[in-house]
Each structure stands twice: as C-alpha cells, then as structure tokens.
Point group: C2
Chain length 570, copies 2
Amino acid sequence: MSGSPSAPPADELAAVTLTDSVAGVVEAEFSQRVLIRSIIRRPDGGADLAGQRVRVGGWVKKGRKQRAIAFLEVNDGSCEANLQVLVDAELVTTLGEVTVGQIVATGTCVHVEGTLKVPPEGTVQRIELNVEKVLDLGTVNAAKYPLPKTKLTLEFIRDYVHLRPRTNAISAIARIRNALAYATHTFFQKHGFLYVHTPIITTSDCEGAGEMFQVTTLINDAEKLEKELTKIPADLEAARILAKDKGEIVTQLKSAKASDTEISAAVSELKIAKENLKKLEEKSKLKPGIPQKDGKIDYGQDFFARQAFLTVSGQLQVETYASALSSVYTFGPTFRAEHSHTSRHLAEFWMVEPEIAFADIQDDMNCAEAFVKFLCQWLLDNCRDDMEFMVEKFDKSAIDRLEMVAATGFVRLSYTDAVAILEEASKETNFENKVEWGIDLASEHERYLTEVKYKKPVIVYNYPKGIKAFYMKVNTDNKTVAAMDVLVPKVGELIGGSQREERYEVIRDRILEMGLPLEPYEWYLDLRRFGTVKHSGFGLGFERMILFATGIDNIRDVIPFPRYPGRADL
Amino acid sequence: MSGSPSAPPADELAAVTLTDSVAGVVEAEFSQRVLIRSIIRRPDGGADLAGQRVRVGGWVKKGRKQRAIAFLEVNDGSCEANLQVLVDAELVTTLGEVTVGQIVATGTCVHVEGTLKVPPEGTVQRIELNVEKVLDLGTVNAAKYPLPKTKLTLEFIRDYVHLRPRTNAISAIARIRNALAYATHTFFQKHGFLYVHTPIITTSDCEGAGEMFQVTTLINDAEKLEKELTKIPADLEAARILAKDKGEIVTQLKSAKASDTEISAAVSELKIAKENLKKLEEKSKLKPGIPQKDGKIDYGQDFFARQAFLTVSGQLQVETYASALSSVYTFGPTFRAEHSHTSRHLAEFWMVEPEIAFADIQDDMNCAEAFVKFLCQWLLDNCRDDMEFMVEKFDKSAIDRLEMVAATGFVRLSYTDAVAILEEASKETNFENKVEWGIDLASEHERYLTEVKYKKPVIVYNYPKGIKAFYMKVNTDNKTVAAMDVLVPKVGELIGGSQREERYEVIRDRILEMGLPLEPYEWYLDLRRFGTVKHSGFGLGFERMILFATGIDNIRDVIPFPRYPGRADL
C-alpha cells in the first residue's frame, strides 16, 4: 500500500458519501463508499447524479495516461461495467513515490473521492468521476502481475485461483453463482421448507468406502508418537540410572543404620523413580505407526472412535428431519474421491437436496420443475447484465435457454417410453451405447431426448429397479422404482430424485438383496419402524445448474476453488 | 406403512386441498396438503376456516381414545402448536389390521383428509379437524419407540439424533436455526455482499496441522494394495510355471527342427509370459502400508498429490474474492480436531465470515453490530412462537435479551480500557485468571464486561499484537493490532474480527516473526503484492448465535448432527 492518507473523521465522511443524500437510489454499505453498480446501473446510466460527491473503490481494468491526466476504467465487482475515473497527475505525485504511469497499470487498486460529472459528448459513458482526493492506492508491478492482459483463457487463469476473480468472466460467474444460491434459499423458504445443516463428516458409509474421502487424525497422532519414541531411549537410560542411584542410597542408609525418617524418605524417592521408569518402559513398547488391533487399523483410536468419511450426499440424514418437520432441504458441499479427470466432475461440489414428507413421485417432479423454472426466472430478473456478458463471450443461446425453460412445461416420460423412443432413434442416430430396456441411460441418450427430440427439459421416471439405489420406492410392477431424472439441454442430467421406500419390510429386503449390511442402516430403518411417512426428494448438482445457466464448458470454472485429482490449490 | 389407499386423481385433489380456495392464506406446497401452521397461526386461531375441507399430515404428539373416536394432537413441524384431529374408529378399522388403540400412540404418522370445524365451547383450540378419509398411516410399536414419553432431557435424546427432531425442543431449535440462516443471507444480500463458497478441503495449513482433520485416500489405497499383494504369491507361481513351460516348448520345437513360423509363434508366446512374470515380480516388491519416501509419508501418492485438511476458517480464501468483488461473505462448515469435551466446542460447526474491501476496523464493527441486531430483530419478527417456547421451557430472559440487543447501541471499548476496568473490578471480584495488560481475556473477564459491568453487548478492540494472528493490521503504536471481539451476555465471545494487514512488507515480517514458513502463504502475499486493498472482516460462530438466542446451554443441542471426540452419529 503506497501512501495511506489518514481517513477523514466520521462527520466529514457523512457529507461526502452518497448514502441517504440521493433518496433510496445508492446502496449504503459498511465501507463508506458507494457501489459502482448503484451509479452506472441507473436508468439513465447515472447521468442524473452529476454534481454529486462520492467515494468509490476498485481495481483498474484498463488505464491510459493523456497529458497530465490518468483515465482509469475501474471495476469493484458489483457489476460487470466499469466506472471511468479521472485522476490528475498532481494528486498522485503528492502521495510520494507513486507515478501516474504506475496507477494506470491493470490491477492497481484505487480508493478515491470526487465529483461525478457528465463526460464530453461522443463518449460511451453517461457519467464519470473526477477525482479530488486519492485515499488509498495499491500499486502493481506490471512486469510481475500474472494477469495483466485482457485476453486470457479460462484454462490459463485456473492456475491463479487467487487472482482470477479479478477477471470479467470469473467475476460474472461469481455473481451468477451468488444469485442462484440466494434464489435457492428464497424458493424453499417461500414454500415452507426448513434449511437443515446435514453433516459433512459422516460415519454412514452409504455407497461403499471406495469413493469416499477418509477423515482422520490417526496419521497425525502416529507422527507425534514417533517423535516421542525417538526421545525414549535417552530418557529410559536416565531413568534407569536414577532408579539405580536411589536404590543404592537406600542400601547405604540402611547399612549405615540411618534414622527411620531418613530411610523412609529415600524409599519414597526410590518408589517414585521406579514408577517413572515403569511408565517409560511401557511407553517404549508402543509400536510406531498407525495403531492396529487384530491385524486391522484400530479405528477405536481415531478422533470419532470409528472410521469417518466426507459425505457423498445429505439425503439419508435429511430424511430424519423430513420425518419430523415435513418439508426440509439441505444445501452444502458433498465429496467424491473418484479419479475423474473430466470437465464434469469435481471432488468437492455443492448439492441442493430437498426432502418432502407426504409427497409422492408426482409431487417430487412438480417441485423439481418449479424449482428449476424459479432459478431461471431469477437470473433473468436479477442478473441480466451478467447473462448478456455470457451470451457475448461464451454461449449465444444462454439467455434464450433460460427463457425457454422458465416458460415451458417439462416433458414427462416413463423410462420405458424413453427407451422406446431411443430404440426408434438408434435406427438413424449412431449411439455409442446400445439401447435396450434395463440399461442406465448414457449421457448421449439423455442429450438426445432433451436436445434433439424435445428441445426442452425432459423428466424421465420409473427406472428399472436393478440400476437404482436401495432407498427408492418399488412400484407395484415390482420391476421399476419411482425414480426420476430431470434432463436439460447443454448439461443432460441436472436433477436426480425419487420417492423413498417407506415400507419397512421392503426396504430391509432391498438392502440385503444388494449385499449391504443392515447394521449401518438401523437408524435409517428406524424411520420406517416408527411412524413411517410417504416421502420424496431430489438432488440438484449446483455446479451443473451454473454450467446450464452460463454455457461455460468446464465445471472447474464455475466453483471458486475447484478440487480434483492432483489439485486443491489454497 | 399400514394400509396405503391409492391417492385420488389430480383433479379430485384440487377440490380437497385449500390451495387457492382461501385467498392467500394457506400455503401451497409440493405435497398436496396444507401446513398446520397456516391453519392454526391465523389471527383467530383458524376459526374462520370452519367448513373448509383440507388434507394434513403429521405425527401424533399425544392421543387418546374416547368411545369410538381417537383424539389426536398432530404436529407437522411447521410450528410448535398441534392441530387436534378427530378420527372415527370405523375409518381406521377399514384399513385392515390397524386398531384405534394403535393410532393414538405417540409417534404415529397420519395423513388425513377432512373438514375443519369449531370445537365445542370450553376447549382451548379454536379449530379442529374432523377426518373423513385416512390416506396413510405409519404406526409405532409403542413398546419399542425410544421417545414415547413427553418429558425427556436434551441429554437423553442426544443418543437418538435421528428421532430427536420429533421433540418440541429440537424442532423449535431447528426452526430458529433455519430462520437465522436465511436472515444471514438476507442481511448480506441486502447490503450488496456476494456469497462465496470457500473450500472445505484445503491445502493451506494455516494454524499448524495439530488441530486439523486430515483428508486422505492413502489408507484406503493401502488396504486395496494389501488385498492385491495377498494374491500375488499364487499368481507368481503360476506365471513362473507358465514361462518355464513356454521355454520348454521353444526348446523342443527347435530340437525337433520345426518350421520358422511355428518357432517364432512359440517365441512370441514365451515373450508375453516373461513380460507378465516381470510385471508381477515388480508388483510383488511393492511394500504394503502407506507409501513412504525418504522416511516420510509420500503425499505425492495422495488424492490431491499433497497433504490435505478440513478447513478451520474460510477467511484467507474469501479474502481473494474481497480483493476483486469488494464485499463478500462465506457461510459454511468449519472444523477443529481439538479434544474438547466442553458444552461450547464442536469438531464440526458453522461460521459466517464477511470480508469487506475498503473497510477499516470501525466499518467492521459497524457491520458486526448491524448484523447481530438484524438477526435478533428477525427472530422477534419471524419466530415469536418458538421464542416463547424457549422462554417457557429453557430461558426466561431469551426474548428480553433479543429485544435489548436489537434496540441497544453496543459499547465500544479499547482492550487497554477493558483491562483497566477489569483490574479495578478484580479488587472486588475473584477472577480465576489474573488481569494484566497483555493477557488474552478469559471467558470470565468477557462475561464480566458484558453481563455485569455493561449488561449489554460490548465490542473490545485494539488487542495486543502478541496474542493475535499474523494477518491482523498492526496499529501505529506498533503494540496493538486492529482486532475486535463482540461480547454478548449468555455466551461471551460471539464474533471475532479484524482489519487485515494490507502492507506487503509488514505482513511478510509478521509471518516470519511468528516462525511460520512463507511458502504456503505466497498466494496470500500476492494479494498484497498486486493491487492491495484496505479490508476487514469477522467470523460469527453460528451455533454460538443460536445458544445466545435460545438460551440453550449445550452446543450439541443446537446443531442437527453434532460431532465431537468419540461421536459422529449417522
């Protein structure tokens, strides 16, 4: 930070910020500046604010020096557009060693105060800021700044995960992600759902440990023990000598016929020395490494006294709250330790999982459809600028797609009908995967249904029992389960859900049928034993929704800090 | 599920649900029933709905049989109050093996349709439901149900984490928690902050690995390898025999002067057998156990190719977004592997962490105060019933406390002044911990300031440099840092925050001064190298806020699935 003039006292500040001075139009915050969005995004582009004194802060996107004036395009992340800020060289040079040449560098942080004015005719901007006071400057060594140029690929900036939010693309995606998160909460709250924080650390190993991350303190504890053990031989030696010495003292005192008091004091010292030695000897027998019991790792010694994992889904746990509070949802991070290097997989990703008591598969589909429509409409209403940016830079059809989904009823198709359609289609289309009743639909099949056949969202329901999870409700045909997937253009499967099996005997048999042990599911079975309830739910992959909305291709670009095999930066 | 009459077709349903039939007063959902809250919480207790046909679902809190009628107090979790539901014995017995005696058992799930009517004079309820159709029943074996009685301690039900949401206390806390979560998002969105999902898995070991959980796939991989290795001796033996046989065949063919084609075919088979043997021999040399390199665990083989942990705070990562998008916040789970068995510590807990660019410590305190007041007012406006329940059952002063905090300016006190006050107080009060400038305030000191001295929230700021983290801004006195803690009655420290050190040289020196390595912080230093910005933020312990609001004593009761040493149920 070069040059940090002290801030004016609070009463002076009140006069220079726009807060309250222009009724209801400029957002107040906790940083005594105004958001650039609140100037530029006014109906007339902010022209009506001419003459107002404001304080703004942001980072220089582009700067140029013209005579003694620096023209800076400043962005504060509140919207995609920049505010043009004019700084007189004299104002800068008073700050010390900073030159005007420096502040025009991309990435410079400026915190300034000045008067808004209408620029000369012929400029695109409707308003610009004439700086009267430079409050703070954060300069950039342009030669070392990793993101100086304006044209950088998403792949390139992935290596600068801490700086990439300063790019137009990542900041637009961040605003869209933020909007979708708040829209999610608003939708469910509006419909009487309660938000439940399901656990991240779980001891329910639901789908086999193979794809789960383990959470442990055993390795750290073993390393600590190892350090202690290296010190033990020396300590042991010292303790042995001490015990021997104390013993000799007792012998000497006895043979010298010393007083009882003297002897008993020496004996008591000997006792302490022997006890200490014993403790050390026991410790020295501890084996280094992770504790074992009966030839296996002794998880009794782990933090939670059993093996623990990162959750792959909050569904089973959130069902406990649905079985008491009726309509609930969870929205949080979930994890898969799969070695997938695709553009569609992350090791850490966010899921939205509602669970509705007294709801069947039809209700579930209604909820899923209403939710997706709501999200699309929300973006159209609240993120128009950012969506226009995505259309311009990444996907021409992004806004059209949102409008279509928000306005169109979703096709609902049974799995059996879907297979019939795909079998028919495979006469003309070359699918890589053969279509026949019983297969799990491949991505190419899903894309065909939603992108080619119907050109709108499609819900496929009633899948074969054999390819679906044990907790899904078995239909009366005993061949299919009441599962449903929502397929949308661009990403394919966006949502997977089902009615849950609420009949105790049926679900118990399904668990056994699949070769799973009953014990870890006893609590889940309890929900069926005691006041069981018809219920349904689904999971929406939050990053998939962002891919769908923005048209971005790689999932690593729509989450702030992507985690995948070999990479977990920061 | 005993007796599941098939649901009526959709058009019939439209006639029996209240949706749209009583304008704007009864909430529609995705389960074709109405929320009990929307009946009972009307200004007249729902009496104006008499004569309406509705469908409701819920769990029996208390039931009794009187002549041929079952009187059920039914709760669906939408509010603390129950709806009285009357079911004629005849309706039940038609369902098969279920008796009226069974459905009155606590915990029974009922899904019913009927007409609302005003009960006879002298009853507390203003409305009750006369059931005409039982849609679904989920019975309970009362003898085995773990939570049959109405009076159960919070400690007792902690062992039934999957069933405890059915109790009045835990469901009220769940609604309060839900309200506080949505209030949090609403507050920050209203003030132009963007929600950023900071990572759960992190490779930034910020405060020393000792208190962090490790995330790994090494143990699982080692176990897989071990299984493979046990099969190797047999495979090796078979491969050796095969190679020997193939060699003999070649020898025989050569001595029998077979054709070149025959010989070269045999040679090529021999080659394959030898290669296979070589591969197996190499594999057999792999050591079982966790991979080592230079005497240490080889984290290059772990999922992320380096050691990874569960995050202890999203602050450092969210700063990267504040340094681009100005006002941001994160709200998610954080983790500590501390062996604390207190009523105030969890291994997994939720934190709200805003980060504000262009904000100093004063702005930070303003934001913290406004946020806490907003949360309190939100509960007063939206959770009155549940708060009254908490007052009745757990803490007489819970509502008074919320009202006081919502309406009172917080005291702001420098650490130096706070110590002077505590030194004065220690003449009369027996503190366990000695007070002197330089100490970290103990809980008893914090409680004294907020509960005894001021009887309202107190913000203590400008703490001694030596007891605070490296990232806090060093004040001009070079003795203190711009840190602040918000102390509130009942829980003590609710919020901890600071202005962040934005000067590159100063923060680099602070890292070194604390004996930390620079390398893991290079990305954090980059934020100061390139366009550094004055910024501030804080963290609010979400569970502490719930303890403060509800008056509940043990933190394990205010999170749905508590994790602490030795326990991580479900």
